[in-house]
């Protein structure tokens, strides 16, 4: 069952189309990452999902309800943390939690105390005097203590230094062990997402490029290095899933988008007979960069 579904979700700001015909499904229980460069439409999508802005066309269903109809009952089951959210900074951490508590019948005091200790948040310090990382942790705590069915994190790592980012991710990983919630996280910090998520969607210029499990994604992308040994090399018209094909002297490098053990090797053997072929797995970051470059190249080609 999908906890979030969008159909032809579109948002325009004047003549600019921030999100175009988005078809997305976030399965229940998954940790789902929405990746993309700045301006890809991730935050706009999340704002539409949270009913912070209205879609121009299409619809989104969150917890089975049209996002435009999200009411207090549904909000009691959704946690939302965003870098842009205006928290009541004049409150201390304790005051903030005391203020949040009555709005959630399912607020778990024990979990609150556990998280407070685990995140090492000083209860009597005002939110405005917390570091950015601590502030995000306080926001996360206030969004987890009622065990929401859905946790939405909009650019939670933005502006955090690597150490704090690591702390935050560790905190997230720890709490993910505590409850069976669905997490939707938008980010352009790929390393953190890779550690967290089991499903990934990539957006670029308002359009969805793909959405699949991290395992499948990491499994189908491979970096191939071919060392030619005086044999023939057919570099003309490579298969469409070979990206960034380049030759430097005797070395040919490219990325395979749909790798299958044996198939890639056979294809290399046909094009580069006698060559030594090394196939390496890729990190999410490498995949992201390759896809971004390929997108730009395709756009330039289309423009030309």
């Amino acid at each position: 069952m999908n906890i979030i579904e969008t159909h032809n979700l579109t948002r325009r700001f004047g003549r600019t189309e921030a999100v175009h015909g988005l078809e997305l499904a976030v399965p229940e229980g998954s940790v789902f990452a929405l990746l993309g460069p700045n301006g890809a439409g991730k935050s706009t999508t999340i704002k539409m999902l949270m009913n912070l802005i209205a879609p121009t066309v299409g619809e989104a269903r969150v917890l089975g309800v049209d996002s435009r109809q999200l009411g207090p009952f549904e909000r009691q089951q959704i946690g939302y943390v965003s870098e842009n959210q205006q928290l009541p900074l004049w409150m201390s951490v304790r005051q903030y939690l005391d203020y949040c508590r009555p709005f959630y019948p399912a607020w778990d005091g024990e979990l609150e105390r556990t998280l407070l200790a685990r995140f090492e948040l000083p209860g009597d310090r005002k939110l405005q005097h917390l570091s950015r990382g601590m502030l995000m942790k306080a926001a996360l705590l206030s969004s987890l203590a009622y065990r929401p069915k859905l946790l939405v994190l909009d650019e939670p790592f933005s502006g955090l230094d690597p150490l704090v980012r690591d702390e935050f991710v560790r905190g997230l990983l720890e709490v993910s062990e505590l409850g069976g919630w669905t997490v939707l996280v938008s980010s352009h910090n790929i390393e953190e997402v890779e550690r967290l998520c089991d499903r990934i969607a990539l957006m670029d210029e308002g359009r969805l490029q793909f959405a699949e499990s991290t395992e499948t994604l990491l499994g189908r992308f491979r970096r191939v290095e071919v060392t030619l040994q005086d044999g023939p090399a057919d570099l003309a018209s490579p298969p469409p899933d070979w990206l960034e094909l380049e030759r430097t002297g005797e070395l040919v490098r490219f990325t395979v988008m749909h790798h299958e053990p044996g198939v890639t090797e056979r294809a290399c053997a046909q094009r580069f007979p006698g060559a030594a072929v090394v196939i390496n797995p890729m990190t999410l970051r490498d995949i992201f960069i390759v896809l971004a470059r390929a997108g730009r190249t395709a756009k330039k080609g289309a423009a030309a």
Partner: protein, 555 residues
């Protein structure tokens, strides 16, 4: 409901310090008001300077309180902004309706109820009785609610303090443009139509404010709210300038006609005087006064100021319809006198013998050519007069000696100083606290004259009421401090006026009487004069008109 209180409690904690400062400013105004009532000096000129300083100090505190009040209302709304996508509450289980409920409750508690609670000791100290306190409560609630609503609508359309200030400045400018347009109406527009336009504007403003606030809280669609707001503003401009009907009789409270005045008749004297050459609004018009007299007016009632509508008809068939207002002449036979007899027991017989001057007059403007025509041919006049009726009530009876005080119906009069000048005149200084009735000084351009602060009259009278003189202040310093007017008045009395050689010490037993005239309703009477003729007045007394046609005044 618990969650609504929960939000409200949070807002109170957040705003407690500026709220405390707001209350301190209010209490500071009370202290200055008290000082105005108590300040003593042997030098009456120095007293005026001191009172001016205290009044200015009060006004500064009031200005600060006003600004802080606006900031507080805006802060209350911006604490959980209903504009933009980043407000915290939007992603929490808080509905727009609940938030609106919390904010409205906050507005009422912080800016309507709290000032009443803080003001209650001040009102009691000022000598207010139950009726005066009731009036003060309503009056203060009006003012605070009106201010809060105006700020509220701006606050819900802005995301932060900077935008709020910018928007306020923009709206003040727009309002000034609107007001100038509103004032620029033709003098031919009847008073009732002008009143109806003003009232329609107020009703429309309230409706637009309510609509915009509710829609913004429930949907947070600011574009739509702006469209509503702008449409309301434009509609108000249209109403203010083009509304054609006079609904003032149904829409505005005038209290009807008191049964005690059923026998009162109003008749034109037929006298017309041209008192001023030309009108400031239109120099081609001439100011014309038509005399009227009342009969069968009971001794404790007075009639004063109102509207007049009528048509001048010449024998040759020429007609001119004009509207205007009614004014009393001269102060020596002031309308106050008529209402003094019963409440103060004043014996008016001697006064009435001397009341031979001009009576009340209806003021209107007519074209210069019609003024010249009136001199050549007497026109008939048919019309209708509308008069505000007042009932006189004795509210203070203070022995004429320094330090004496008395008061009732919320009024308190204190004789601060009596000075005998070498010229033989007496100078008297009074300190007073005066309640204002609900509806006074409304921050809307409505002529609710029937609800204004009651006019008052001061009389220095012997205890047996056979000798008396009207006291008229030559210096007055009044300051409104949360529904209490603190007043210092200085009167000069020519002792010769009081002279009674047989009893030179009657002043030792004299009393200062203060009579308030409570508005009790409106009298509407048809009136007709077969022929108007010009009469000359000099120093308030009739003189024989010159014979033969004269040029129109101002020519």
């Amino acid at each position: 409901m618990n969650l609504t209180w929960h939000i409200l409690k949070k807002d109170f904690v957040r705003l407690r310090l500026p709220l405390a400062l707001w209350v301190i400013l209010m209490v500071g105004r009370f202290l200055v008001g008290d000082r105005i009532l108590r300040v003593e000096t042997n030098d009456l000129d120095a007293l005026q300077v001191t009172l001016g300083t205290l009044s200015a100090m009060h006004n500064v505190l009031f200005g600060l309180q006003l600004i802080l009040g606006c900031v507080l209302v805006a802060a209350l709304i911006h604490e959980d902004s209903v504009v933009g996508e980043n407000a915290w509450w939007v992603t929490r289980p808080i509905s727009g309706a609940r938030l609106l409920g919390a904010k409205l409750t906050g507005l009422v508690l912080f800016f309507v109820v709290l000032p009443q609670v803080v003001s209650l000791p001040w009102w009691l100290y000022a000598g207010f009785d139950g009726r005066a306190i009731g009036g003060a409560v309503i009056q203060l609630a009006y003012t605070q609610a009106a201010l809060s609503l105006l700020v509220l609508v701006v606050a819900v359309l802005t995301a932060n303090a900077a935008r709020f200030v910018a928007m306020v400045l923009l709206l003040v400018f727009a309002w000034m443009c609107c007001f100038i347009t509103f004032l620029a109406h033709s003098p031919d527009v009847p008073v009732g139509v002008t009143q109806t336009r003003a009232l329609a504007g107020v009703v429309l403003s309230l409706a637009v404010i309510a609509l915009v606030v509710v829609q913004q809280f429930l949907t947070r669609r600011r574009g739509r709210s702006w469209v509503m707001f702008s449409a309301g503003f434009v509609l108000m401009l249209v109403l203010a300038n083009f509304w054609p009907w006079d609904w003032s009789r149904w829409a505005l409270w005038r209290g009807g006609e008191p049964p005690a005045l059923a026998q009162v008749t109003v008749a034109p004297t037929g006298e017309v005087a041209f008192t001023k050459a030309g009108s400031n609004l239109d120099p081609s018009l001439v100011r014309m006064e038509m005399g009227f007299r009342y009969t069968n007016l009971p001794g404790d009632y007075s009639l004063n100021f109102g509207g007049v509508t009528g048509t001048l008809r010449w024998p040759d068939g020429t007609e001119k319809k004009r509207t205007g207002w009614i004014q009393s002449y001269p102060m020596a036979i002031s309308w106050h006198i008529m209402g003094l007899k019963a409440p103060a027991g004043i014996r008016l017989e001697e006064w009435q013998k001397n009341a031979q001057g001009r009576g009340d007059a209806a003021i209107t403007f007519i074209p210069r050519s019609y003024a010249a025509k009136l001199r050549q041919q007497a026109p008939a006049w048919t019309g209708e007069l509308e008069l505000a009726a007042y009932h006189g009530e004795l509210v203070a009876e203070v022995p004429f000696r320094e330090g004496a005080a008395d008061g009732r119906a919320g009024h308190k009069v204190h004789v601060m100083r009596i000075e005998h000048l070498e010229s033989g005149s007496l100078v008297v200084n009074l300190a007073e606290s005066v309640p204002i009735p609900a509806g006074d000084d409304l921050p809307i351009p409505l002529d609710l004259s029937s609800r204004r602060r009651p006019p008052v009259c001061y009389v220095l009278s012997s205890r047996d009421r056979t000798k008396f003189v009207l006291l008229r202040p030559y210096a007055e310093s009044g300051t409104l401090v949360n529904s209490v007017v603190v007043l210092r008045s200085t009167f000069s009395v020519n002792v010769a006026q009081l002279g009674n050689p047989a009893d030179p010490h009657w002043l030792d037993q004299a009393e200062v009487l203060k009579v308030a005239y409570w508005s009790v309703g409106t009298l509407v009477r048809p009136a007709h004069s077969d022929g108007l003729h010009e009469t000359q007045f000099r120093n308030g007394h009739r003189v024989e008109p010159a014979t033969g046609p004269k040029p129109a005044p101002g020519t």
